[in-house]
Amino acid sequence: MAYLDHAATTPMFPEAVAAMSELLALPGNPSSLHASGRLSRRHVEEARETVARVLGARAGEVVFTAGGTEADNIGLKGLAWAERERDSKKRRVVVSAIEHHAILDPAEWLRDDDEFELTLVAVDEYGRVTPEALRAALGEDPSDVAVVSIMLANNEVGTVNDIVALSAVTREHGIRFHTDAVQAPAWLNVRHDELGVCAMTVSGHKVGGPHGVGALVISRDCVVTPLVHGGGQERDVRSGTLDTPAIVAFAKALEVVEARRESEVARVSALRDQLVQRVQEIAPDAVYNGHADERLANNAHFTFPGCLGDSLLMLLDAQGVECSVGSACSAGVPQPSHVLLAMGASANDARSTLRFTLGYSSTQDDVDALIAALPSALERARRAGMPKS
């Protein structure tokens, strides 16, 4: 089997599995006041310090959540609500057109059900948000903008945005900035204190940690309104018993990433470049989407004209090659990619995509398996053609 879908989820590092396993059978709720509780709390706080160090934040700025989607929701809705509370004029949210659904859908909810206005920031043909595009979206009077959210690295095409330049634009107007950095930490040295953002989302299972855990790194001076009410365990921003084993394993994974990132970026990007070249030799009409350089080291994203992405995925899957069409599914049906559409692709091209994403466990064999399986898959998918849209 060749697993080429590390952007969806990447296997846990053995170190993270060991750290997690060790704690699973231990008693102790980190909120309890006895010795077991204190020990569990100690594990959480040490993990928080590790996460903070790796991500360039203070420990008190790390709020653990049940994953990236929850952190994105707090980052967007929590900031929007708190800003509106502070200044009733602030009723607009601004997000890029290529955000993950964990940002796009809450943004649309704020518009449709909570009386906010929503402005989408356009992207260029590579999927990048430029400072000019952000300025255009903010408009002449940005004083009504409660929050801006622009992702650090896109999950479909892997394009990396210059968050430092973008957050500088909002700082001119004192606007809160959130970035979804879920795809980034394995490949980029992501530091909250250097990005100039208020809040930043990260996720456990994208960096070799477990599923169901993530964090929102929130600057101390940024107030967010909680989404979930209860015990107020995490700075009163997030309630719910802390998942000590998952949090510890998440921190361990970030440590592994920090230690291995430089060599893995070099190794994996070379493997990726080889994959791209060999795919283009097999399919000269394939379009390599995203930016040549300003992209994640592990991402290769193509449009195969005249082939439905679904068909290719199924045919490759049957040969043990696992990849993704890249876009979100609705009830199991891949939808035309909103990212590709925002980059200017036609509706048909937005359904003809495949995303191959490598990880720390990827090898030459994985690329060879894809290259061996691709010609027959392409031939059959071309024969099946495109359905009605």
Binding site: D310, L315, A331, G332, V333, R380, A381, P387, K388
Partner: protein, 360 residues
Amino acid sequence: MKVLAALSGGVDSAVAAARAAEAGHDVTAVHLALSRNPQSHRTGARGCCTIEDSNDAFRAADMIGAPFYVWDLSAEFQEKVIEDFISEYSHGRTPNPCLRCNESIKFEAVLERAMALGFDAVVTGHYAQIVHGPHGAELHRAVDPDKDQSYVLGVMTAEQISHSMFPLGDSTKTQVRAEAEARGILVAQKPDSHDICFIPDGDTAGWLARQIETEPGDVIDAETGNKVGTHKGAQAFTVGQRRGLALGNPTGDGERRYVVDVDVKQNIVMIGPPTLLDINVIEAVNPRWGGPLPVNGQDIEVQVRAHGESLPATVEVTADGVTIRLKEFLRGVAAGQAAVMYEGTRVIGSATISRSRRES
């Protein structure tokens, strides 16, 4: 063989796929997403293609050990089945959307895509049999007469039949449910789906009224030519219909009145006694043949409703379709329905009824 099993999330298609796998075929499962806005849950036995159905199909595929995918055919279904349904009614005909779905979706769009992708056949949970006879693969009635679906499959061409598998044709529904239980398929007791899947509340007239602009018109007594009432729009009426006329007791003789003709152009619904519904000649167009064409004057049996009986007749192939002469009178034949022709249990072909008449 490498086969593609269409799993609806119900018990029949799950058992059909399991049988295909057990017979040694390499099974890949697909669930067809036919609705653009699927509901979360099914209500009772109506509706289809909910997210719950898709999940049930996924779990059935798991049990069988087949890889599972969802194919989005909602655009094709909208155009070829739903819009056709509306168009047929607006022209005063009574379509059969299940038949249209088999014709345009399951054994055309899906089968063609499956063949292109390298599959040898499509497997479904329909109750019908494929028999390999002297002319190749033939479509036959199912063993269970209560479940027989050969009528809605009559539109299949010989080529389509030769690339299809119906593993349930030799079984009764009771046997299939028992087998599902024995195999541990979780949907063994899921109710059968009925009616029209895209009209989940079952109110076809109400649904059509929202799709087709209608105007009130006259109800005319076919025998006297007198106006005996009004209707809300001729499109919603079907020849042979008795309910929904709201005429009270127009003749005073207490005899029931039926719709005997619908004229959409003039927006008139003709009613009359049931004897006016008795016809013995059917003309039908757009024939599709499941094998060799019949010889003119050949004795056949014909079925004009999904759950109707089949009647002895003769058939003549004409320039634009077929003329079927029944050996006895048949009551209430609606244009738009299919006339499916049989030789014994074998389906000869199917054609769409354009008109019917009484010949002495």
